[in-house]
Symmetry: C2
Subunit: 406 residues, 2 copies
Amino acid sequence: MSVGLEQPKSLIKVEGIRLSACSAGIYNKKRDDLALIEIAKDSVIAAAFTKNNFCAAPVEISKSNLQKANPQYCLINAGNANAGTGRVGVLNSKAICKELAKKINCIEEEVLPFSTGVIGEDLPVKKINQAIPTLIKNLSENSWLDVSKAIMTTDTMPKAISSQIKIDDSMINITGITKGSGMIKPNMATMLSFIATDANVTKEILDKIKQNSLFKSFNRITVDGDTSTNDSFILIATCKSKLPLIDNEDSKAFTILENEITEVCKKLAQTIVRDGEGATKFISIQVDGGNKISECLSIAYKVAESPLVKTAFTASDPNWGRIIAAIGNAEISDLDTSKINIYINDVCIVGNGERSDTYTEEKGKKVMICDEIVLKIELNRGNYSEQIWTTDLSHEYIKINAEYRN
Amino acid sequence: MSVGLEQPKSLIKVEGIRLSACSAGIYNKKRDDLALIEIAKDSVIAAAFTKNNFCAAPVEISKSNLQKANPQYCLINAGNANAGTGRVGVLNSKAICKELAKKINCIEEEVLPFSTGVIGEDLPVKKINQAIPTLIKNLSENSWLDVSKAIMTTDTMPKAISSQIKIDDSMINITGITKGSGMIKPNMATMLSFIATDANVTKEILDKIKQNSLFKSFNRITVDGDTSTNDSFILIATCKSKLPLIDNEDSKAFTILENEITEVCKKLAQTIVRDGEGATKFISIQVDGGNKISECLSIAYKVAESPLVKTAFTASDPNWGRIIAAIGNAEISDLDTSKINIYINDVCIVGNGERSDTYTEEKGKKVMICDEIVLKIELNRGNYSEQIWTTDLSHEYIKINAEYRN
């Protein structure tokens, strides 16, 4: 199941990025499960990784390699997370980086490894190494879509988006891909996401854009509240565009580029939620009028992650009592519940902390049936607003996750 | 479904407590849904209530009445939580207290109201008031079991337990009942729980016992991480026993009584988990070797509330990668994952942060099939240990909660 998702089409090349995908036989069934992204020299890279204490071996190595060299390659496999694999896991990830470096004639630290899939199983190094020559041979500017397919796990659809913006008469290209549909509550990063632009920016500027974009996109989604061991977010600027270097946060060019990259990140992040395991609804939760960003987010996530709220959405049951119970669970100090209003789409459900005078069960049922739902919570105590995106919790979620390894 | 639960039998009377139950027609189907507990004068009472900001009207009133008078009656209804009902809800709860007070000749503030059931619907005051004479007429020392049945909602079985202990040749009786199976993560209290003893104690001593018992019992369970708007825990000492007054924490009698009440509370709390909505497994999560109580609990709850861990338990799939991912999500600072060992019952799954040398998938499957599972996590960094209890997450949970109001 997925909500409002379409096959991505017409992805735009980003000069300085070549990609390829192939099957290394990591999955039993025949499908692409290994991918390579080549990054032109002189590109600038910003990265963010999971904060899970049990971070995967490839995350450890990517973090470490980023300190040592300017990355030239991202080597990504699906079907095996190489997490919970201890020292052997680290050696295995290093072995495939080394093999790629040898074959392609770069240094090992210029390769960033990424893995996604089952946790706790050893990485099939031999299979991956055998497939590396094919990956190298097939590198092409046109393979974004192939790679977006190769990195899928329980995703039902590839996730990719392109965008073009004009800044001072120069056309800037942005293309991004992502994967993920379960174990989704990114913590400073998402499952796997690779976004490239040909814009010409400094490292400091790209880091700033990364931070701001993540804050409003991948760090605002939850499917099941579980943060993956392998979350990684890579933002690449190949600097191939003719537009002069952006090196100042106060410039108009910075603002335009940041907004556009944020939009791309938001849409990509939302594709993950739309494809959330078992999802039958795409739910935007907006909390307005909070005293702090953190209290808006705390309430939004309590509602988004309440199994009772999620199952009510699955059943299209306007059981709004569960929503107020979840809001109350955030335990915000001095929250005056009698000031709270709640809307589902255009229907006011709760006014001043109790059932709205204008609310009828019939109106509630009518909006709860929708695939796309905006749940707006007005706290009326401050000036902060936050929005996050989530899914419902269906039988299909249980089915997918009970049968995941079979 | 429920795990290892049996119909309670042979409950022991507690001198000074009389009870009754009847149908007030709050549920469409014929069943008892209203109950009364009469507390002898000179009893001592300790109470704890939900910390949910949206606490229900009866919780508000019970808290306020406890400040004003020594309670003589608990008036409890199932089928309607009287939560999210604003000012009208408060008036409604007051109206039924007033009616009982009038009929029984006590003051309104000597009645504590309790409600459980659907949130957001108005309390059927008329139906309840009409049933009050029957409740009064039927008061009896022998009706503990009837009351435990009348307060059920999605519970599949009544939950009650009795215990007798000898202190200095005097026999002390303890009987307790509870209800709850969903929206369960008590926060300083449980769903509804009424426990009485004939022991003779001061108010200070009873408060102390309440605090310590709750800490080790009802505050150590989670079914779905949702805290109810109506959680209430009432501990009554009728002081009818011949044993001299316990007024000192350092006395042997205090220790014996506190231990026994804690045991009763633990068993009652565990019945809630055993009857957790859709539960097919009863899971004890023990975290040993933490630096602080809070970090043990944080890890325990992250594991207990991870939908991915819970569905793996449902499927009896030893997908231990999900357990380590959940541990990592607690984001404990400086957690050295390479020191962590994990056991499921007697099988060592993870040793030093990676798959144990002695572990095989076969061994994992064999223990995951069990109904009762102890998941032990050794952090090896300190001297604190904590244990909590939870369930799996099954198709039945979704079914129950998608159909709850139908």
